[in-house]
Amino acid sequence: MSPSPYFTIPFLLIVAIFQATAAPRLAVGSARPDLMLLSVVSWSLLAAFRARELEYGDEAPSLMRGINDGVVWAFVGGMFLDLLSSGPLGANALALMVTALAVGVIGVRVSGATLVLVPLMAALGTLIDHLVYLTVLALTGQPVFLDVYMNRFILPGVVFNLALVPAVYLLLMMVDRRTSRERLEW
């Protein structure tokens, strides 16, 4: 179960505004921090892990619900980004939703140490997000120079996101634990 929309919506809005204001100024070379992508990847993994625990506990199968949690975050966060962007509306939402789906499916199926899985999913998520976004741009008639973008934005972005993902994951894990406790108390 996702935390309250009173948390989710303002949180994702703040992250989107950060991406449109502070992130370009924090760029190292041409790589920027992508907190929205990292939030979506982290939340998708947390939701997937939770869903897997519930299934192993012989409760109602909830794998799909676990995946959906991340996808909902991706949609809301992506739409906020699209509203702040001059690109086609829905492009960021679509790219993040595909990323969340892939991370969620892998998260519920693959068991492994969180220490390995989280950075791995951050790197994979960055690649998927950029490639889907560029595909959408190409489909809407924008010129796409994959070789230039790969060296200039995508690969440096992977490195940047690998460095930042532990902090974002830990923050959202605290939020997840807090909301889980509230649910139990309820």
Binding site: A16, I17, Q19, A20, T21, A23, P24, S30, R32, M36, L81, L84, S85, S86, G87, A91, N92, Y133, L134, L137, Q142, P143, V144, F145, V148, Y149, R152, F153, G157
Partner: protein, 279 residues
């Protein structure tokens, strides 16, 4: 035990007698040598004790001074922090003032243009799209295609999307941006396009035209969608091959497109009228 106070009761009387005697002798001046001798012994002790008392007094004073200095230091640090932040704010205002003065100068020098100043409030979250968001929109009469400049008549880009209170400006460096341009010295025409790596390239310059490094590139006004003579940048490198139909030049933008804070939107301008052939 009871006898002891009684047996020593004479002590009081004797000492009183000694004291009275000393008083009398002192008054008569007969005790001076004894007093001098006593002073000789007592003085060093007194001096040492006085020094000790003074240093103790200084110690207490030092503690008080340390406390006062700490308070003073904290106050000075607060003051320093306040002045430093004020200094930063003033430097910021000075930079903004210079930009605004530049923009004002442009407005005064081009009375035919109707312009509107705007603050940059954001950049595109996608690294693939080079655009900025400004804080004026449909409410102030902005329309897509309007040119946007910054200090020194430097072209920044064009309005791409207008919302009620904000607008998105497509920067020159965007891969979808293309501007008709000319080289100031040779008047050679070309097309300035944004490159995927964020640089600017002036393409389609006829081979026979002379292009040199540091040549200034301006808007040509061709097509009528941009005013003439807005500064685009300077040539940094020229690529010319005999097998090509055109030569191209890499440009350094006149405006720092990554650090824009205040811009001027040109709401209307007199587009260049085609010259009538002379009869």
């Amino acid at each position: 035990m009871l006898n002891r106070p009684r047996s020593r009761s004479w002590i009081f009387f004797v000492l009183t007698l000694v004291a009275v005697l000393a008083l009398v002798l002192h008054e008569a001046g007969q005790l001076q040598p004894v007093e001098d001798l006593a002073q000789l012994v007592i003085a060093p002790v007194q001096r040492s004790f006085d020094g000790l008392v003074n240093s103790t007094g200084d110690l207490f004073g030092m503690f008080r001074e340390v406390r006062e200095l700490r308070v003073e230091n904290r106050d000075l640090q607060d003051e320093n922090n306040r002045l430093r932040s004020e200094n930063i704010r003033l430097k910021d205002l000075e930079a903004e003032n210079i930009t605004l003065r530049d923009l004002l100068k442009f407005s005064r020098n081009t009375p035919d243009y109707v312009t509107l100043a705007a603050d940059v409030i954001g950049r595109d979250p996608s690294p693939y799209l080079n655009s900025i968001t400004i804080n004026v929109g449909d409410n102030r009469g902005l329309k897509p295609g309007m040119p946007v400049i910054t200090g020194g008549s430097a072209l920044v880009g064009r309005i791409k999307e207008v919302n009620p209170r904000t607008s998105k400006v497509q920067l020159l460096q965007d891969v979808n941006s293309a501007v008709n341009a000319l080289i100031q010295s040779s008047r050679a025409n070309g097309l300035v396009k944004g490159q995927p790596d964020g640089s600017l390239l002036m393409d389609y310059i006829p081979l026979e035209e002379k292009v040199a490094t540091d040549d200034v590139v301006l808007t040509s006004g061709l097509g009528g969608d941009l005013p003439r003579s807005l500064v685009i940048g300077q040539v940094t490198d020229v690529t010319k091959r005999d097998i090509d139909l055109f030569q191209s030049a890499a440009l350094r933008p006149a405006a720092d497109l990554n650090r824009l804070e205040v811009v001027l939107v040109i709401l209307s301008f007199e587009s260049p009228t085609p010259q009538q052939p002379s009869k």
